[in-house]
Amino acid sequence: MNNKNKQIADEMNEIELIIGKILRIGVIISATIMIIGLLLFLVTGNSGYDQNYIPNNFKVIFKGIVQLKPYAIMMLGIFCLILTPVLRVVVSIYSFYKEKDKLYVYITSIVLIILIFSLFI
């Protein structure tokens, strides 16, 4: 029994490390996109849009990314950053599942559902 517990603990440690790495990659990706956008903005001195216009829907943003518009790339970076805490919740569900902690699979799933719900308000 003790051996089994130790095995689970080792496995959990490994999962925690993997989660840490996934999150780090998520943060690095969003930071990289933001840096590219910011550099492009500073070099060209132009947002790529009319003065004071902020691209704030996916259609405009994706169209702008194809055309390498600085504001579109910066907004994509910001959106990726907003998604990193959501990613944290998703991987936590997996972690609790691996730990065979049903109660917390449910609790964390409720949090994820609330977050998805907030996207559509």
Partner: protein, 281 residues
């Protein structure tokens, strides 16, 4: 343009370090600076501040995760209250006058700062042994963490789960309504109400802030309150600052963290009260 970018990155680094050490989102530091010093419209300041909150949280979560100070169960359980609160807050914006919330939360902050001063002055600073709480045990909220400054593994029990849950709902409400991380309230809920030690409270609050802020950040993102040329360099500075800050915070003794925390609470509390009574600084 390049001047603004550099200023925002530097402001971000400072706010990030302060935020990670104090368990605050940094938003509460950034919003007054952007509005009072740079004359930015409060709408855009709030938009930038919610991104700052997420950057602080994501930057330092990585550091805490590795050191296992964080209590993931406490975070996820209480997150139900904060995310629902954040959505309710976002929906309430415009209906309720924020004036009353400012006053109410201002009072709560000043009261908590006073409470912390009392704790600091108390010579008997040994952490009191908390009795086993039935609900906390059922929810598996009790935890342990490795304290780097005393080089010991410390176990702790959690109590008053319903009280903490209700305060967390209020914290989420304030976050959705005002675009802040309301990390101060989250630390209060865990530290003062649930009697969790300060370090796991701060680390857990940091993780929770990001998740709570994500619930309202999408609203700000799609309604055009986020100015990329302000938010992006700020977020980059914050990411860097919060990684540095969370390293510093593990070496600082808990008493020091508390001592830094008290004036910040007083400051924010009085600011909120003034705002509530319509006094412009």
């Amino acid at each position: 343009m390049i001047n603004i970018a550099i200023t925002m990155i530097v402001l971000g680094i400072i706010a990030g370090i302060a935020g990670a050490i104090l368990g605050l989102g940094g938003g509460i530091i950034v919003t007054p600076i952007l509005t009072l010093m740079f004359g930015l419209d409060i709408k855009y300041a709030i938009g930038a501040s919610i991104i700052v909150v997420i950057a602080t949280s994501s930057g330092s979560t990585i550091a805490y995760l590795k050191d296992e100070v964080l209590n993931l169960r406490v975070a996820m359980f209480l997150e139900i209250a904060t995310t629902v609160g954040a959505i309710a807050g976002a929906l309430l914006t415009g209906i309720l006058s924020p004036k009353y919330l400012y006053i109410l939360f201002g009072l709560l902050l000043v009261f908590s700062a006073y409470n912390m001063v009392k704790k600091l002055l108390n010579k008997n600073s040994k952490t009191s042994q908390i009795k086993n709480d039935q609900l906390a045990t059922k929810l598996k909220l009790n935890g342990s963490y490795y304290d780097k400054s005393s080089k010991k593994q410390l176990d702790y029990n959690v109590q008053n789960v319903p009280g903490g849950f209700i305060v967390m709902f209020g914290a989420g409400l304030a976050s959705g309504l005002l675009g802040i991380g309301s990390g101060a309230f989250k630390v209060i809920a865990m530290d003062t109400f649930m009697k969790m030690p300060l370090k796991p409270s701060s680390a857990t609050s940091n993780l929770m802030m990001g998740v709570t802020a994500a619930a309202s950040a999408t609203v700000y993102f799609f309604n055009g309150s986020i100015l990329p040329y302000i938010a992006v360099p700020l977020a980059l500075g914050i990411l860097l600052g919060s990684v540095i800050g969370s390293r510093i915070m593990q070496i600082l003794p808990a008493k020091w963290i508390r001592a830094i925390f008290v004036p910040v609470l007083f400051y924010i509390g009085i600011n909120m009260l003034l705002q509530g009574f319509g006094v412009k600084l």
